[in-house]
Subunit: 587 residues, 2 copies
Amino acid sequence: MKLLDIKSPQDIKGLSIDELKEIAKEMRQAILDRSSAIGGHVGPNLGDVEAIIALHYVFDAPRDKIVLDVSHQDFAHKMLTGRAEGFLNPADYKSVGEYTDPKESPKYDLFYAGHTSPSISLSFGLAKARQLKHQHHNIVAFIGDGSLSGGVAFEGLDAAAKLGENFIVIVNDNQMAIAENHGGLYDNLAHLRETNGTAEDNFFKDLGFDYIYVRDGNDLQALVDAFKSVKDSTKPVVVHINTEKGLGYKPAEEFKETFHFRKPFQESTGALKTASNQADYASITRDFLLEKIKEIPDLLIISSATPLDFDFDAKVRQEAGVHYVDVGIAEQTGVSTMAGAARGGAKVVYPVVATFLQRAYDQLVEDWAMDKSPAVMPVWAAGVRAMTDLTHLGFWDIPMITSIPEIVYLAPTNVEEYLAMMNWALAQNRHKVAIRVPSYSVEHASGEVDKDYSDLNTFKVMKKGKKVAIIAVGDYFAKAEAVCKLLKEKGIKATLINPRFISGVDKALIKSLEKDHKLVVTLEDGSIEGGFGGRVAQEVGKTSMRCLTLGLKKAFVDQFNPDELEKKYGLQPQQIARLIKKTLKSI
Amino acid sequence: MKLLDIKSPQDIKGLSIDELKEIAKEMRQAILDRSSAIGGHVGPNLGDVEAIIALHYVFDAPRDKIVLDVSHQDFAHKMLTGRAEGFLNPADYKSVGEYTDPKESPKYDLFYAGHTSPSISLSFGLAKARQLKHQHHNIVAFIGDGSLSGGVAFEGLDAAAKLGENFIVIVNDNQMAIAENHGGLYDNLAHLRETNGTAEDNFFKDLGFDYIYVRDGNDLQALVDAFKSVKDSTKPVVVHINTEKGLGYKPAEEFKETFHFRKPFQESTGALKTASNQADYASITRDFLLEKIKEIPDLLIISSATPLDFDFDAKVRQEAGVHYVDVGIAEQTGVSTMAGAARGGAKVVYPVVATFLQRAYDQLVEDWAMDKSPAVMPVWAAGVRAMTDLTHLGFWDIPMITSIPEIVYLAPTNVEEYLAMMNWALAQNRHKVAIRVPSYSVEHASGEVDKDYSDLNTFKVMKKGKKVAIIAVGDYFAKAEAVCKLLKEKGIKATLINPRFISGVDKALIKSLEKDHKLVVTLEDGSIEGGFGGRVAQEVGKTSMRCLTLGLKKAFVDQFNPDELEKKYGLQPQQIARLIKKTLKSI
């Protein structure tokens, strides 16, 4: 049986272990071919090939419910559930996404689960439904060791332990998060591995789970045996499998962190196809922080498991020493650690990915914003040019952060402004400052940038015009410059404003526009509802001016092309200029 | 030494255990006197009197840092740190709040920490600062057993376990959350209690902590000995103390759940001073859900440890049986369980407190909103009339929920509309519906209410007028009616609109207002930035009309009187009517 012939898990049920091994081999090649061509989560998917084959061999999806955590580890699952062509046929690569997707496969993909750690709690919900419906299928949550550091995974284990019925948690232990793991739990996992699962200290048993260990989690026979032994179990059980991330591809075995997710690469060497030596915000931030470590003895840099986002690779992390801490995939603790260390008198920088910061909303409000704990939080991967998967959209950070009092959210428009804001934020002792790191393009200032941002919510008029004023946030400022150029060609001299502050409004400035403007236009690289535009519209609403608020729709989009999405949303400079002209004519 | 003479922890350092016991006795009386007079967290504060005295006796605050989790258990701490009069002198009762408060005591109260579970992560931050500053004080996180179910507590334990230096976690195990505990962890705590701390299965040890157990956590000598033994320890250690919630007051010992927090009560009997038999939204919801359980075989009602909010007391919970599940203080898992059970085909209702829902923002986005998982989430304690402590404000739910796509957020204006919306939300299979339960007053509909809300974002004109249109959300609708009355007296016949939907805007309706209105006014019982008003202002901005958006300020407030706050914010009917008149005149 060839991989391409497998249309559903039923097709592998009768196969021998050796035949399954052949499929595993074919899968690994497909994972490599696809990921090297279009980029992808190489390491996680190479590591769990056997586990996922064994899962579908032993359990009976879709009757049995399999929930994959942080579902970028799902390639083998997709290949077994009717989507092999998306991995075998280059023309079809883009027909399947990285994550499980109920739209792609309503039968086999129960959830998106693109963020880490929700699988056990989601499965607990499935179990409650099963109970009410008097059903008797297996429920299997498949979760990586790295994802166990996220608090919701613990909550799920805690709740599910008491179910008193079938509930299977596969812990796919590849001894890595994205970077190395951090936390006491990982010593326990190591001890369990060292003792072939026999150690007395056993985190899972403590919580009430039965437990079995599979020493070689890439051995199909061992996995099949283990899964068979827990199938239809009537108690919650953890199957702890020891797998190797990146298995079968030398570069991925050796460089586990950089091959967690890899942009298109040469399959023969593992080298990136288009390696860039250009400075970007990651390397700019790294250099800035390394410089600051020398200046500030009590500087603490926190990451919640994503240090490569600001180019803190293993070597840099070592160089940073005590100034750097990785709290694991645990953004709640990331924010609380930031707040606690600030309260303890340290200078703190916590670079965090916008979509993952969603996990720490409560900590932003309760632990950081309301307290006297000045710190700096650069927000990564925000906006339309950041991540383009449904589950990782950077569209909501402005509504999320700016709805919270006392957090100053700054949006730099270029590198120099970014660094000036970082410098100011670190030097001052009063405000809690988030900074929206541009993800659109690396722009440079045309002149001097301001050094001091202590006069909160003061917008800056960059060009004085009349009739229409454009207030453009952060990395959409360059777009507004293009719009102004187009308008100028049509004889309209627009006022162009860099607001810098997106968590407040310059009320006096807006009021002052009224005397020679008829229209205020806002432009932001984020969801238009609950964001900056709404805040401005509330002020403009008090005047005789009209207001247009442009930005991304409050809508879920998936695997999109940013250019096309902007066109669809009317955000190309030409479109914006046309809308402004039309509106001005109608007033 | 009398309690009133204690001005700082220094004052108790030389005392004997017997003298400390006298102080404990005096404290218990003070806790009872104050709580029975003005209401308060009776049970938690009676239970930890000895532990907190011993903490301050052994450790040297403010040099040593003591962080109290879910800090409503802080009365003894406040009495020892210069605030005894706030408990002993009825005239001063209101001078101290329920929670630790860095404004009240910058030296001894490091954080607010009013929500459960952050203490360990905050303390981890303190430890990182200590490290960078080469300091050597003790860091002590004091956390209840109930709070351990919140994921961030686990994250904190996981991170702190690896510190390799002084870090003391006191687990105050009173065998209760607000209601009973739920989760596998609690079996482990029980096993530890049963074995006097000697059980081999030990959750804390397995994470890497040293561990000691105090069998009688209300015995001062035992506590002092235990704390002395860990003071200046150079490794992370857990001190597990077995305390009794409500100790020393019979009614609180017997009815632990209802005495967790108690409104003013008769000290002699424990009976509430003003017991009400009037129907409120809690009892209305309870009755509705109990009725629905009979109708819907696969109905699941979820609580994250706050069942009394919708009157699900122990008896009702038993009656609900398999239809009810408490996931513990774990809102992330609350939302994921809702999503999972909905995906499993169950009908799900998850009543949740607005301020605690902040913990599940990511789950709302990633697990609920983007998936096909219709369910119903009544949002409790939202608005200015709900909770009035800084850490428990119900001001942010509208910005938080309505910034997320695909969640339909409904705001009923009265009981009949609430029930109609609940009925519709449960009957339909398409939308994810949140419902903002009124907290202002129990209003009743004057006529028939709509049964069907499937035509999303359609606002309802309740009175047709001209010049000014008032769009009033949920429990502020009654206020808008009062405003209309006042305006009518001045000859202004306002249009009055019940939007019902706060997560979207009726664009056609707003556009249609333009022909005979000059002003649109929104009124919402929530933060005005990022909320409903901004959304409306964005639409009004496209027209020739002006817009005023009225609501609560995006600002932290604490221990406020709702009437006074509304007055300060210009939200009394008279003030609103005046503003409208003035604005109309100026246009």
